[in-house]
Amino acid sequence: MIDKVKTADEAVSVIQDGATIMVGGFMVCGTPKILIDALVRKNVKNLTIICNDAGLPGEGVGKLLSNGQIKTLIASHVGLNPEVAQRMNTDVEEDKLECVLIPQGTLAERIRAASTGLGGILTPTGVGTIVAEGKQVLTIEDKEYLLELPLKADFALIRGTVTDKFGNTIYNGTTQNFNPLMAGAAEHVIVGTCEVVEIGELDPNTIHTSGIFVDTIVGGEQ
């Protein structure tokens, strides 16, 4: 059996400049802080970050933004981190942030589509708005839907509450959010977790994410 437990720095050592990374969490709640910190230390650049939001200045993925590591941010809401607007509008070309906004439910469903091998999903969300620009519109039973495509990544950094050594993970409260979806949508998945337990300690009815998705486990998340 492969030992998946590593330190945060070992875990992120596989991530290189230019990578596309999904990061779990909703306004930092359920974001793997120790993995973000390790990414800041590694100081990889030109990242594409897929996350519900931009966190807060200096918090969550906001740390990566403040440190100039993000080239493109794909998110549903960035209003609580004013640095996003600053960087989007900067005249300094190398600091410029590209920001792609996606409705939150569509973001969730596109990540799920990548995880579950769907070629796309039809959603009524965004029909008739600028979100529909460039997208195929299909009419099903007289109602219009946008065809939204799968969204995948090279890496996913997710945050668990309890994880067994196989990677089976349980989330507490609203820390769940995008984490279980992202776990299936990335080539390489690293979970930062509060507690690492032995295999067999978790009730198989209560596990949210299967260990088959998890490549690396890092303990010490708060």
Partner: protein, 216 residues
């Protein structure tokens, strides 16, 4: 001003029925909770992943793992459930939320809504709002009638849409308007204003209900 907000929240509360599943937007809509009668039990959904959200958590006993969509620490009521974002928006998009109450930048007579972007000025992102207004069975816009005197209720939105033809009802400090195929129907009004004053504050012709009555 805060009086206006209280009037709006109080009136919206009357729209919510016992057993309803409701999602309240950030800001003014959140105040609706304070005006619910004791015998009306609403199941509040928070789109970040919770059914059965309770009041804000007290500082001394807050659980950092339980947050609402406005990034505030909240409590879970007995019978609450947590879920992931796909499940959460499945509930919303699937028509399982009875009502959502949201603010707006602009609403028009067709029920079109603009609430998420002022091009070149403010780009916070749509968050969950586009899904909420498309998915919820009833969309209630709770907002002040004008923005410092400028019309927010219009013939046609000028800002980019959040969604088209989705608004069912607009509640302001001046009155209650239903979106109908013929335009906005003023069904209730705040007696502090005349119907003429309400019309003047509105950028589209109001149809006055024959059953027009005071809003509170």
């Amino acid at each position: 001003m805060s009086d206006a907000k209280a009037i709006i929240a109080q009136r919206v509360a009357k729209d919510l029925k016992d057993g309803n599943v409701v999602n309240l937007g950030i800001g003014l809509p959140t105040m609706v909770v304070n005006y619910l009668p004791e015998d009306v039990h609403i199941i509040f959904q928070s789109e970040n992943g919770m059914m059965g959200m309770g009041p804000a958590a007290e500082e001394s006993c807050k659980d950092l793992d339980i947050m609402n969509a406005g990034a505030g620490y909240v409590t879970a009521t007995p019978g609450a459930m947590f879920f992931d974002s796909a499940t959460s928006f499945g509930i919303i998009r699937g028509g399982h939320v009875d009502a959502t109450v949201l603010g707006a930048l602009q609403v028009d007579r067709h029920g079109n809504l603009a609430s998420w972007i002022i091009p070149g000025k403010m780009v916070p992102g749509m968050g969950g709002s586009m899904d909420l207004v498309v998915g919820a069975k009833k969309v209630i816009i709770a907002m002040q009638h004008t923005q410092k005197g400028a019309h927010k209720i219009l013939d046609q939105c000028t800002l980019p849409y959040t969604a088209v033809k989705v608004v069912d009802e607009i509640v302001t400090e001046m009155g209650v308007m239903a979106v109908t195929p013929d335009g906005l129907l003023l069904t209730e009004y705040n007696p502090e204003y005349t119907v003429e004053q309400i019309q003047e504050a509105t950028g589209t012709p109001l149809i006055i209900s024959p059953d027009l009555k005071p809003m509170l």
